[in-house]
Subunit: 123 residues, 2 copies
DNA sequence: CCTACCTCTGACGTCAACGTCAGGTTTCTA
DNA sequence: TAGAAACCTGACGTTGACGTCAGAGGTAGG
């Protein structure tokens, strides 16, 4: 498939896909004329990349760990980094769960207070 | 306390604290000479701000919701936004848990493979 | 009173992950 | 075989949350 199709299939912009290639995260075959062509596995790879980005992992780190994620084989150094990212992700989850509790307590309290007719400024 | 102390107590840079004030997130008394002075509650407020930032909430949204989080009272509009942020946080958590599973499966497989002596490139 | 450190207000710099535009080539469709 | 649509390579623009620097004034200890 060409870049446009990969873009619609993944929901990731064409620009972003080119950026991933620029960063060494996503390789592409090139046709005679220079157009990018991707296999079906590219869809999963793009989703994986997005997932790692969402976990706050940088391009450089992703570049390091991607081949290992794909092959399932890693050197001790990469393994250590993976563990580091893992604990970072765990911490992010915990922090977000804290935030969730905060929001929930506000929502619970706010509904009550609003029922009793003391609204906060809308703006 | 002055800004430096608040900075060390919270681990947030002096620049960031000034930025929070600029964004209307953190008020400060001013001494005659114009220096900022904070009460003890500022520490918690700064932590709360950081928590909301970590949840991917923008300065503008935080500014809207902060008084309501503090007073526990919100208008219907703000309430709706809070619910929106809540579900966004829930989704973030779910995504991160997915990522965690990915990382774990990689780590499990990688360790095995490494034991069998086929390491991936460290660089 | 001196000195070392803290704080102030601008104002420009940074960084990552793209967005967007220009100007040109390639591919599909009628 | 048009011409629209998709693609290409630069290259500059954007955004948010600060970093950093300059130049000037405030403050606490000896």
């Amino acid at each position: 498939m060409r870049i446009g199709e990969l873009s619609t299939k993944t929901g990731v912009s064409v620009r972003a896909l080119r950026y991933y290639e620029e960063q060494g995260l996503l390789a592409a075959e090139r046709s005679e004329s220079g157009q990018r062509h991707y296999g079906d596995k590219a869809v999963d790879r793009v989703r994986l990349i997005q997932q790692l980005y969402a976990a706050g992992i940088s391009s450089a780190s992703i570049r390091e760990m991607l081949p290992c994620v794909v092959t399932g084989v890693a050197s001790p150094q990469v393994l250590a980094k993976l563990r580091g990212h893992r604990s970072s992700v765990v911490k992010q989850i915990e922090d977000l769960q804290d935030t969730l509790r905060q929001l929930d307590s506000v929502l619970a309290g706010a509904v009550k207070s609003h029922e009793s007719g003391v609204p906060c400024a809308p703006d």
